[in-house]
């Protein structure tokens, strides 16, 4: 119990966004905005003290990840991917990361996004992918991630609703954990499931130290 050394979970892929009106009622009707925020915040607290977190920037999610990483003294462990196709419309808050990887633009929006997603998802030997809220983009990243990393754990956090809920409901029982649907204590949920994915015994549940205000 005295073991407070955090165990490595391996690099983690995050796919998260906030559903917008007019982009599919199926996502909006179940979206849990507070849940999306709490899940993203908890994931940073669990992963960043020891491991890399890779994600495609999203205007609402990026500032949250950036601030959490700065406060944890772990800004070096965040890798954000952006397509050069969107360079002119990306808000400044998404450009403050130390590791920002620009991927070449395609001929249009969807081909640009696909190039970005393939490069991002192929960039690491991920142990787990975490899918939070989201719309069609999160669903696409889920399928792409599964193809690239057939052995990685797939955590669709159904309680955050939206695309994560759609994915969770589609997957057969036996491969998904019921906590993803009902557990709102996200930090302990991620600690448990990511440790399992890393093939280690779960680490002690102590939260990492925080730095500064």
């Amino acid at each position: 119990m005295a073991d407070t050394v955090a165990h490595s979970l391996g690099p983690i892929f995050l796919s998260a966004s906030v559903p917008l009106p007019g982009r599919g009622q199926v996502y909006l009707s179940t979206a849990n905005i507070l849940g999306i925020r709490e899940a993203v915040a908890a994931l940073t607290v669990v992963v960043l003290p020891t491991d890399r977190l890779v994600f495609g920037g999203h205007p609402a999610i990026s500032p949250l990840v950036h601030l959490a990483a700065e406060r944890l003294g772990a800004a070096d462990r965040v890798y954000i991917y952006q397509s050069a196709f969107f360079q002119s419309v990306i808000p400044p808050s998404s450009l403050r990361f130390r590791h920002i990887i620009w991927t070449p633009p395609g001929v249009d929006r969807s081909s640009s996004l696909l190039r970005m997603r393939e490069q991002m998802i192929g960039s690491e030997d991920f142990r787990a992918g975490v899918f939070i809220g989201g719309m069609d983009g999160v669903e696409e990243e889920f399928e792409l991630f599964r193809r690239h990393h057939p052995k990685a754990a797939l955590l669709a956090v159904a309680s955050t609703g939206a695309a994560a809920r759609v994915i969770f409901d589609r997957e057969p029982w036996g491969v998904k954990d019921v906590g993803l649907k009902f557990d709102a204590a996200y930090a302990s949920l991620f600690r448990r499931l990511l440790s399992r994915a890393a093939g280690s015994t779960p680490p002690p549940a102590g939260l990492p130290p925080l730095r500064g205000p």
């Binding site: 119990m1 925020r37 500032p63 601030l67 204590a185 002690p204 939260l207 925080l210």
Partner: protein, 390 residues
Amino acid sequence: MVLLEPERQYVPGGGYSATLLATLERQMTMLGLDPKTTLRTLNETNFHNERAPFLPVAAVYFGGPHQSVEATRIVAQLRAEGRFVLPVVPTLLGYSTQVPAALAPINGMELVPGDLALQHPVARLTEELGLMRSRRLVFISYKRDESRGVALQLHHALEARSFEVFLDTHSIQRGDEFQPMLWDRMGDTDLLILLDTPHAFTSKWVEQEVARAHNLGLGVLQLIWPPPHKRVLGTELCEPVYLEAKDFQGTASDPGSTLLGTRMEEVVALAEGTRARSLASRKTRVITEFCKQLEWHGVEVVVQPSGLLEVQHPSKGATYVLPVVGHPETTLLQQIEDDCLKCGTHPSQGCIIYDPLGMWPKKAAHLEWLNKSLPTKSLAVTEVLTWLTR
């Protein structure tokens, strides 16, 4: 709110649950809240189908000679989540035979003959639901030359509802000491109201305050105007309220314009709802995470109706822990010391746990200093492991 009462059919007038609900609804109306939209009541029949996992939950179990399988199951589930369950019984004699086993370690509340409206249990519930937290701090984040009229009007309307309002923080000169102090105050706040006018986000302070609020888990209510201005990209985690031209006295785009009184009342009611939801998620951050950490180590925790957690500490034995949303105050330290003395326990068997996120280093140092001098300690939720092995 969850109302469990296996005896319901044996008590006239729909049982104690109906009386309690009527009193609670009256109190909420007095606080300016519409119970129809802000309170959801669950019981044995609809708990599993209608429960929304992210709303604040408080439960009451009316005990007696009869028990029901479903009520017992629900109690066990709520207890496992570390939720507040208040057992209320006609008499404390033979208490443990009147409630499910999961409630036996919790101190029950006895019905008082003169309290026909059940004011005592209702008072405890309103506190638990975050309606009566003694400190009600709110930040207003805005750009003065675009929205000063609404900002001032909000300030007055919120003060009238017993909020302590932080406004015009931007006008104060920001020195080295000011910024961490401001972030520290924010960590003790429940709510940020963002006035999203066309150039609000050109102020870096507005942007930073919103990011901090999300990081801390505060509720963020976003008022968006004047039409056709749309919410700023990247604010999708806030709760949006679009204000229309007809909501204003005068021209919506005039910086000095104010809202119609009825619309302002609606906004304040929405702010109460946003605050209650964020309090629930911040409680989860502190209390549920704390309970799960202890469960992980096989340490038993019992949530008492007073709000105290009774923890079987591996070396200290029974310890009383008060989890707080926001920062510990000396009055709370005194309260837990008093509670310990009432229970016949030494005050050193009591402590407060809190989330230290965003705390001003000087305040953290002050708590450390107090810890050296007082028997009752403040413990950051991040230090639980160390505390368990101490």
